[in-house]
């Protein structure tokens, strides 16, 4: 098994495990972290695809650009999600907390 294969597999395992956790867990913060695990998994897959390389073993710059963009966007969503969670679970406990059904 080549190194690229190993990383592809690792990325897939991370993404699938993160997705399962994200869909099953009820705690909002744990869900947000699971979302980031899915993100890391997908980006590892992309990096591995980029490192597949041609004859000269160079990594594909386009895929690296995709990874960087993906990272930035995931950070933006994570920050916004954290603010929302803080508000939902904020100082005034609300009786209308319907966010963790399903």
């Amino acid at each position: 098994m080549s190194a690229v294969m190993l990383y592809l597999l690792l990325g897939t395992v991370l993404a699938v495990a993160g997705t399962v956790r994200m869909l099953l867990v009820r705690d909002l913060l744990a869900r947000l972290i699971a979302m980031n695990v899915v993100g890391i998994g997908s980006l590892v897959i992309l990096l591995a695809l980029g490192a597949r390389g041609g004859a000269d073993d160079a990594t594909d710059p386009v895929l690296s650009a995709l990874v960087i963009t993906g990272l930035v966007i995931t950070v933006a969503f994570t920050g916004f999600g954290a603010v929302l969670i803080r508000r939902i679970e904020g100082p005034r406990p609300s009786d209308r907390d319907g966010g963790d059904r399903g």
Binding site: V38, G39, L66, L84
Partner: protein
Amino acid sequence: MTAAELSLGAVVLAPLLAAALAAALPHTARRALGVGIAALVLLLTGLLAVQTVAGEVTELALGGYPAPLGIHLRADGLSVLFLGMTALVGAVVTVFAAASRHTHQAFWTLWLGCWAGLNAVFVSGDLFNTYVGLELVGLTAVALVALGGRGSWAPALRYLFIAVLGSLLLLVGVGLIVSVTGTLDVVQAAEVLAGRPDAAPAALLALTLITVGLCMKLALLPMHAWLVPAHASAPSAVSPLLSGLVIKAALFVLLRCWLWLTDSSGALSALAPLAWGLGAFGAAAVLIGSVMALRQSALKPLAAYSTVAQVGYWFVAFPLLLEEDAAEGAFIGIVALALGHGIAKAGLFLGAGYLKEAYGTDEIEQLRGAGRQHPYAVMGMSLGLVGLIGLPISLGFTGKWNIATAAVAAEHWWILVLLAAGTLLSAGYAVRALAPLLLQESPTPGEARISRNYRSVPGLCVIGLGALTLVTGFGGVLIAEALEVGAPW
């Protein structure tokens, strides 16, 4: 640089700059800026539409760098149709928001950013900008939902999770296509795929990932649970944008990937199981979504479940896209249904939001007789429902007619049965929503004289969208002609 090329870049950049500017302006100036940008985008989209109707695909490489490296914008028939629908609905909702006293001050930055993202998705020539545009739309849409106050934060968060999961699947799919073809440009990637039959399995995997990711954002049936609370709890001016426009961006990307990427690569026939799966989920969505809509007691959740049902119609036609002699009709049908839904559902949601602002509730029973006081809003909602049922004259009718004709050509009779059942069910929930509003109850003593609200701008916006539902119904032939420009066959 011609006027059409200039407007191709400006439809994205003008709302984006305005979004940044709006954050720095005082509240009243934001409203003026929003209306001004809406007029500008309408004008720019009109320029592009003229060029497209003349049969020309408008293309622009930003900064003069061509496709593999630079940002390549392209507006063909499909792009211009979605741009046009977005401009019309966006402009009317912008006027509604500017005239409404309930518009949140953060609405303007978020909505203008969302508009820029939508336009970016529609004119993007490569998959990378499509992805960035979709993310901009997703992030601003989640924030727009959260403007609805405490009750909307939990649905907004749930929407955020689904949006991110969907985009990550899309990103991996796009990455796979890049690693196989070496390019992000849709046309170039299709050419590479056509010349390399050995790449078909990777392309199939990539398309499957992209499709599943986009179906999450589109709320196709098993993944629809997020949509109803998010669209129902969003503010009045936001729900029409979410249901009418935001989910159309994902549909646009899906059509682009299915029809342009797979063109003549032979991967299309391998997509058959996926297409049939989508068709089956679509059929279930039509039936379950309509039945759930019938069971709602409030207007906005009813409209949201109706969106779930309408999404189903688009996917019911997906198996037809693989049939040689039915593909074109099915394609026209899906686009017509999606455009018609955008306008009609925006009208319905805008009317529901208007009544909710006026009465403080959207429970149908408590709105009994609202048609007496707000005739324009209720009339606009009725016209929107005509479009959703698919009665002539509306794009809903054009779409269903085209899909039905294509289904007959391909001898898929079950689609006809499903269209008929869906139409009857939607007529049912239309009556359920409207009848109590139109009933002339004798006014309770003490409020003998009811002032009729004829001059309010928000009410006029609702009936404006209702009228657009009928007016665009005459444009069915134009849609077929426009889709010929830069068509994949």
